[in-house]
Assembly symmetry: C3
């Protein structure tokens, strides 16, 4: 059997469009960071070595987090100092790969969440076929603005056509970053040559592959399972849903406490130390983290509630991601993402639906974009505080440590470390003197 490829995990991408959320690779899902979850999946499929390409900002955080996770896979972390393309990212692995005598590699992105079957299909193709490279082809039903694989004959990829426009697709297979290359040395040489030669665009990696396709066989591994690339903050909801759907039974820790009239239905996972008080309902799929408290009469459905969070009396949490240490006191949280250490005071509500029933829009780097979601609540950065009786319009975002005063209807984004509050016009007059005393 051929040598198992070395994983090359790209984790150096920018997070700017992910604001107000932070490092996406370290997002907690069901008690684990995304990076841990991904590495465990790779390990389960059979990979045992990885080279991680981080950036200067997240390198230490990733290193520390992974060190604490005690993962069943060996890894090195290299750093891409400037965000100048995927080709450049791959070049950072050269030294490590050279030391291993240029083994085959499996190039992935940490923020692409897929089913483990993709990885299995990739390794099977590599082990049973004789192509130089293997690229995953994600089968799409309708036009997607990505790179389409141009296929010839018995599955040979002869090109990747970027955003051909609807109707001009060469196939229904889109290139996603799940690539096995056996001739690592040549690939890196070609990429290096393109950088050295002043290649005018930032697609050095794709251009290098295009050159190789002319000379050697690139095989397509088609895939039609789940694919959730995390780019915008609301993508966390898709990944939340993906991981929740992997809970296949009710798993309640013996160290969790479920009080009298609480109802747990469906595939629900509840961790140690959690308490679910009387009258509360947890409707699966749902995840309740360690030491979280679900108050009397609260309703949690299709949501993750992070460790240490407190969901107050008769709060409702639906289709949402709540990170660690979220305090929601009599809140309604729908289709929303709350990073961590957030106070969402009594009476606060996230509107999740436009009155004109159009898709919810959100502002990213100054531009209004269609989120593609009919229902979307709020995205809240870490450490934020929202006062009583407030609310958020669909698709707004609250920056890290943002503060929203009481009685405030947040209709546009709040910056990091910014405070917004509403000022009421009030009048003071003599009382009517008829305030009712009984009845």
């Amino acid at each position: 059997m051929a040598q198992t490829p070395v994983l090359v995990i790209l984790a150096g991408g920018a997070n700017t469009r992910f604001w107000p959320l932070r490092e996406k690779s370290l997002y907690h899902f069901m008690g684990e960071t995304l990076f841990e979850k991904q590495l465990k999946v790779y390990a389960a499929v059979g990979y045992h070595e990885a080279i991680i390409v981080a950036n200067p900002d997240n390198r230490d955080l990733i290193a520390q987090t992974l060190a604490e996770a005690h993962l069943p896979i060996a890894y090195d972390i290299v750093v891409q100092t400037q965000p100048i393309g995927m080709g450049n990212a791959l070049l950072q692995t050269r030294e490590k790969l050279a030391a291993k005598d240029y083994p085959p590699i499996y190039v992935c992105q940490v923020n692409d969440v897929v089913e483990s079957t993709l990885h299995q299909k990739m390794i099977e193709a590599y082990q049973t076929q004789s192509a130089r490279s293997y690229l995953a082809g994600y089968r799409v039903q309708k036009y997607f603005p990505g790179g389409y694989l141009s296929i010839q004959g018995d599955g040979q990829i002869v090109g990747i056509i970027e955003k051909p426009g609807a109707g001009n697709e060469p196939s229904d297979l889109v290139n996603i970053v799940a690539h096995i290359h056996t001739d690592t040395h040549t690939l890196l040489d070609k990429i290096q040559a393109l950088y050295d030669g002043g290649h005018p665009r930032d697609d050095h990696y794709e251009a290098a592959m295009a050159q190789m396709m002319e000379e050697t066989r690139f095989a397509c591994v088609s895939y039609d399972g789940a694919w959730h690339p995390i780019k915008y903050p609301w993508h966390v909801l898709d990944v939340t849903h993906f991981y929740l759907s992997q809970i296949k039974e009710q798993k309640i820790s013996p160290d969790a406490k479920i009080y009298g009239n609480a109802q747990i239905s469906g595939n629900v996972q509840i961790e140690a130390g959690a308490k679910v008080f009387g009258g509360a309902s947890i409707v699966g799929p749902a995840y309740i983290g360690a030491n979280a408290i679900i108050g009397n009469g609260a309703l949690v459905r299709e949501s993750m509630v992070g460790a240490g969070s407190i969901i107050g009396h008769v709060s409702e949490i639906a289709r949402s991601y709540l990170g660690r240490n979220i305090k929601a006191h009599r809140a309604v949280i729908l289709d929303s993402v709350f990073e961590e250490d957030i106070n969402f005071s009594a009476g606060c509500i996230t509107a999740n639906w436009r009155i004109d029933q159009g898709n919810v829009k959100s502002t990213v780097k100054g531009e209004r974009i269609d989120t593609g979601r009919e229902k979307l609540g709020v995205i809240v950065g870490a450490g934020a505080f929202i006062g009583i009786q407030s609310g958020t319009m669909p698709g707004v975002k609250i920056g890290t440590r943002g503060e929203v005063g009481a009685f405030t209807n947040l209709t546009s984004d709040l910056l990091d470390d910014e405070r917004i509050y509403s000022v009421q016009e009030v009048r003071r007059v003599p009382a009517t003197g008829k305030a009712k005393k009984e009845g």
Copy 2:
């Protein structure tokens, strides 16, 4: 036994004071339109033929609705083209009655909701006595601004005194439209003559009866049961209460689903397909329509919830009429009428009580009128949308397809197809930087 009278059902009255609600005769109560319910009551008492006097606006709607209802009574529909009086309405039936050789008739209004005992008493009087006409006399305890029956001797009606003023009443019996006439031909002739002769007021029917009273015997059939004429929109609440009080036992469809900890108490009727989730309470008398959903922890008491409605988690619905397809998400709805296809978003509340404890007033055709109710919430027209955290002051009304933005306190009526929204004054400053992370 005498020939059963032919019902003449007046259904052509205007709905202007009923705004924002629409055709009152087709209001749904417990899964049936008012018209169906009325015709079924008549049929049960023994009537088998009816002539319905509609107006040009509601004729087709009534025809279609009744056709779909497959009623145990034969009926014709005639149209009164102009709203020029009850006498004119009766004249529209002439052709149909002539074809039946002028049978005795029982004149009723579809929007007068009474107990079936009234109809029974009317037909019994007609079958056992020998008067020319029989008029119902509604026994009142205190002055009511209507027409009082002037009675002589052994129950003969010798006149109807309109609004005599308190203290001047000739009896304690008020004329309500439940009249059996045996000499139909003469009645119609006299009405026609009054129209032809340019009678100066629009009381041709009453004037014709006054002429006949001088010549023949009009007998009074006294009645002291329920009488709920529907004129103003809040009258729907009285009729709702009336029909709810006719539920005499708990009737839960075997095709309804009542989850674990839900509590159903008292006389409650729940239709097929309805779901009542855990922790919800339904306190009778109450009606839950087909396929309606009562969310976890919700409380419904003394109310009707129409088919397909969704009452969200911990909502409260009390003493209210909710038509079909009402979505109330964490709402408090008290003493209110919601027509149909309405979205009442999370955190919305209907105030139902004045701080000075006076009767609630409402604006009808530009005039403030006392509703006579100490508690009254909101009246909402079909297709309206109310955003999160909003509320309504007692007695306000929302027009058809009206839209109320988030955080809005509706203090006066909203027109059909009008949108109102509140604009907050907000300030943005640096955050305090002390947002609490724990505790």
Copy 3:
């Protein structure tokens, strides 16, 4: 055994810093006024005679209340006509004491709530030792701005140092008003002489004791139990907590009604006629007064709910004092004091926590003072009415019969008989015409 001292209970202090709450000695705790509770404690320890020093404003109210209470202790009420010091208050008892031939006295304040052990220790010291007077010394852990006892040798008090400043305390024992004097005649003479001689400050009582300390033995009775002097309105919360902590078991009246799914946990006392509806939770320590109603799904924890109060569906009451006849309709009431006859409408919330996590401040007689509490909600005077969707910022107060309009964020105190309301800026435009009808 020595003669039991006569209680001299000082109850004539002003209530101005207690605003908007009223006569503090008649505050109801668990169905009894404070005065009743205090007298019952004294009686249980062995006291059987009391002289109460009232003021002109509260004299009749106290007399009437105590007469109705049928207490196991004999008492006279005297009146201090002007608030000119504790010495003057004591002089008002002279006539009554002279008539009893100047018995030993035990001077206490009705608004000092302590454990009965203090009174026991005082009487034991008096019965077993031979000092002229006995003063309680409240042991403090950190500096308290009061009068410190200066102790010599075997527990002899040689002086009281007022507010010595941190680090200069002569002991860790603070003077609280629990004083037994055996030489009543001399004490009163000395106080009288100071008044007659134009003593420049209002500490005649302390000055008289200081003179006596030079000549005779004053013994200290140290105490480290609970001590809750009631001065500011939020002190009611401390006393509430104190009395709640004395409930040692679950005591539910057989005449209370607890419905199906209601949950009562911990040390909870529920009086006759109270109703706790399904899904409600009462978490001890808690007290539910006679005929109070706890609605479906409501949560009451660490709180007192006064007789006749109605806590609506899914309301939350935590760590609060609610007097009689409070109507809280879907409210969130935290760390708050509600006097009586108050309407707190649906959707109202008391914020109890500052965003900067500092101690809550409140305004007393025009001055901002630190309440010493990290969590404090609102203080509401009797007869107030708060409209729907309103809220209160931490530490604000609402005067007697104050009225807060709907949708109002109360950020500063509301006077007695004052009304405040918010005025929204609203706009009316054509509806979007897209209001969603289904889904």
